[in-house]
């Protein structure tokens, strides 16, 4: 029962389940859980039968299907194989997502039953703050929100910094469009974040913290609030936690729709109630952060790793991953891929495994073209590098980056110039406007890209793009501007020929950019039924029943409606003649 499940109709299924078990008078416990990452199969229902180890997992459930499942499986003891969905969680390694989709996120008892708050108790009663920091350092955990800085080191800096009031912040802004692991963790396992932040507070000597959540995530906010009040009641938050001498409390702050507020210095001024404009670093927030005080800021997924690191030990955590990237990483698989959803894999897993084994490959028999990682700050990994082991260093080397873990798969029908344009449009929209290289430079880049995608490209445009990119990277104030040219640079690096085709051959090889295409009716196939003419919203199709039909390309807005309605597939999109 997370955002994605509810969007797919989980609420109705949930209600039906309750009606049906009441109707049959069954003694069944119905537990709503958070996201388990199998978004493609939502809504999902797991049925556990006492005595059987594994649950049966049903996918793409409708109220009708669940009625049948309850009657057959729960009432008559007969599972319904038709509705069982394939689960690829077995091939993964769940660390940050260990509880998501397993426990009821609204129940602190269930969190405690799976070992929750043990790490906090261990820290408070068996470890000094410095020992906690050393343990986190030794685990090799690096930030999962962007740059991949060592979490333990960051905590150490804050612990050592002077200040009468220190703060612990959680970055739950999740600005990367196409990433939703932070939302899933907040909705599926909110207590782990509360526990981790409290541990961080103990480690650095802070008694206050804020969780900065984007306003687009109302369910996450609701679950967090509930979890915080349960934790307070149980004495895991508030004064003298669990009877120790340590006090700590949390507040939620809502973002208001500004991507730049994910940047750490901007996030802090936003919490202070101002426009979220970044400032130059140093001083770093670890030393001078919120209200000028030492502040630790970590990402949601980073925090989700903390309790289990303390519980199972640094050496357990650092025993998997690559030399410099330890542990696991959650990826949000989206785009042209069969199994959209969340996966968690050990660092260093080859991209091929992620896309084909876990993601199920590309739908429609199409070819894999590129994987975009790192969002608007990242780049595209072309098909040639599909055997790359995913870790921080390898992605950077390929001109992309880990970012927060959005992984958008693109097939051969994606135009890379259009993708670059898409990201630049995003950046231009989201630039805070404070520094000119970012505000004006990205706008100029976007104009060039718009020119190229609308068949007005000129010789020399690519060189201009490259020059602008260099200037913006070097002269911008914050990470937003410094990384904004990356999508352009990376697509230019691997798909330069596609740019050149737009400019020199006046073609969009992927068949995306409208300015290079036209719709046409294939006469031999056309049955002259005139359905297309009646469908066309702008009256661009002429012809009477039983007479040949024609599309006026001047009038046509390329909405594609005629193509989708034509019963004999007689309408084609082709390069302009």
């Amino acid at each position: 029962m997370a955002t994605c499940g509810i969007a797919a109709g989980a609420q109705k299924v949930y209600e039906t389940v309750q009606q049906e078990i009441a109707r049959y008078g069954l003694a069944v416990t119905v537990v709503p859980t958070g996201c388990i990452g199998l978004c493609r199969y939502e809504p999902i229902v797991d049925i556990y039968v006492p005595g059987q180890e594994e649950a049966v997992r049903y996918g793409q459930i409708t109220p009708e299907k669940i009625k049948k499942i309850i009657a057959l499986h729960l009432f008559a003891g007969q599972p319904v194989p038709d509705y069982v969905c394939q689960d690829h969680r077995g091939k993964q390694m769940m660390v940050a997502l260990r509880n998501s989709g397993v426990i009821n996120p609204e129940s602190i008892e269930e969190y405690i039953a799976v070992g929750g708050y043990q790490a906090l108790a261990k820290a408070l009663f068996e470890m000094t703050p410095q020992e906690v920091i050393e343990e986190v350092k030794a685990s090799g955990l690096r930030g999962r929100g962007g740059g991949g800085f060592s979490t333990g080191l960051k905590w150490d800096y804050s612990a050592r910094a002077e200040g009468d009031q220190k703060y612990v912040l959680c970055n739950a802004d999740e600005g990367d469009p196409g990433a939703f692991m932070d939302r899933s963790i907040l909705e599926g396992d909110p207590h782990s974040i509360i526990e981790a932040m409290t541990i961080a507070g103990y480690a650095i000597g802070a008694d206050r913290g804020y969780i900065y959540v984007r306003a687009e995530y109302p369910l996450a906010v609701k679950r967090l609030e509930k979890a915080m009040s349960q934790a307070r009641q149980m004495g895991f938050l508030g004064t003298k936690i669990s009877g120790s001498a340590f006090s700590f409390d949390l507040e939620i702050r809502l973002g208001a729709g500004a991507f730049v507020c994910g940047e750490e210095t901007a996030l802090m001024v936003s919490i202070e109630g101002k426009r979220g404009e970044p400032r130059p670093r140093p001083p770093f927030p670890a030393v001078k952060g919120l209200y000028g005080q030492p502040t630790v800021l970590n990402n949601v997924e980073t925090y989700a790793n903390i309790p289990i690191i303390l519980r199972r030990g640094a050496s357990w955590f650092s025993s998997f991953g690559t030399e410099k990237s330890k542990g696991t990483k959650v990826f949000a698989l989206g785009g042209n891929i069969h199994h959209t959803g969340l996966i968690e894999v050990v660092m260093g897993t080859p991209l091929r495994h992620v896309i084909y084994d876990l993601g199920g490959g590309i739908p429609g028999g199409k070819k894999f073209k590129a994987a975009q990682t790192g969002g608007p700050s990242g780049g595209c990994i072309p098909a040639a590098y599909i055997d790359t082991a995913i870790d921080y260093e390898n992605l950077l080397e390929l001109g992309s980056m880990m970012g927060s873990g959005g992984l958008i798969v693109m097939d051969e029908e994606t135009c890379m110039v259009d993708v670059a344009r898409f990201f630049l449009e995003f950046t231009v929209d989201e630039s805070c406007g404070k520094c000119p290289p970012c505000r004006i430079g990205t706008k100029r880049m976007l104009e060039l890209l718009e020119r190229i995608t609308s068949n007005k490209g000129e010789k020399g445009d690519l060189e201009k793009l490259e020059q602008l990119a260099k200037t913006i990277q070097a002269a911008s104030l914050c990470g937003l501007g410094q990384t904004a040219p990356n999508p352009v640079m990376s697509t230019l690096r691997y798909f330069r020929a596609e740019y050149e085709a737009h400019i020199e051959e006046r073609k969009c090889p992927a068949g995306v950019c409208k300015a290079f295409l036209e719709y046409t009716i294939i006469e031999e196939k056309c049955r002259k039924c005139s359905l297309c003419a009646r469908t066309c919203p702008v009256g661009a199709i002429t012809g009477k029943i039983k007479k040949p039909h024609r599309i006026d390309t001047e009038k046509c807005t390329q909405c594609g409606l005629c193509m989708s309605k034509c019963p004999v597939k007689a309408i084609a999109k082709r390069p302009k003649q």
Binding site: C39, R253, A256, G273, G334, G406, S564
Partner: protein, 174 residues
């Protein structure tokens, strides 16, 4: 969500909200969120009430209101249609949904229909990327969409609005 209260009740409620937050640090944005939930948007008189109440310059309130995309100075339609233009949705054809809606409603992105029924917006990722392409109408989320479904969804809301009218529902939900 927008609540159906008459103007003076809303103003009273706003005073209460301000009183709860007054004197604490960093409460400007939370108050503005609550005010927008109450009024549906942030007209200048609401902004100046917040400024006065929290004792911050009006310029600061205005600066915040215009910086963050969630805050709006213009009233929105009864139904706010937001098409996700996050990367996952874009790759799966969200632009075509947006184009279709603009054409159907005869408005551009960011505008409200003349009858005040629909506002059309492109939104940032709502984190339901697994169901891309996605759009929301007020609080309702629609996933795995195709252009052909758009007509039906829009008509559903038109009918709901007509029914409300027939029942003489005069609540000013805008």
């Amino acid at each position: 969500m927008t609540q159906c209260l008459c103007q003076s009740k809303k103003l009273e409620k706003l005073h209460e909200i301000i009183a709860v937050h007054k004197g604490k640090a960093g409460t400007l944005i939370p108050v503005m969120h609550e005010a927008q939930d109450l009024f549906g948007h942030l007209p200048l008189d609401v902004q100046s009430m917040i400024a006065e109440g929290l004792e911050v310059p009006l310029a600061d309130v205005y600066a915040v209101a215009t910086f963050y995309s969630k805050f709006t100075l213009q009233p929105k339609g009864v139904y706010s249609i937001q098409v996700c233009l996050g990367t996952a949705c874009y790759v799966k054809g969200a632009q075509a949904l947006l184009d279709k809606l603009a054409e159907l409603l005869h408005i551009k992105v960011g505008e409200t229909t003349e009858d005040g029924l629909f506002t059309l917006e492109a939104t940032r990722c709502i984190g339901a990327c697994g169901l891309a392409p996605v759009m929301t109408v007020n609080d309702e989320v629609y996933g795995r969409l195709s252009v052909e479904q758009i007509d039906d969804i829009v008509h559903k809301y038109m009918e709901m609005a007509w029914k409300d009218e027939e029942h003489g529902d005069t609540s000013e939900s805008r």
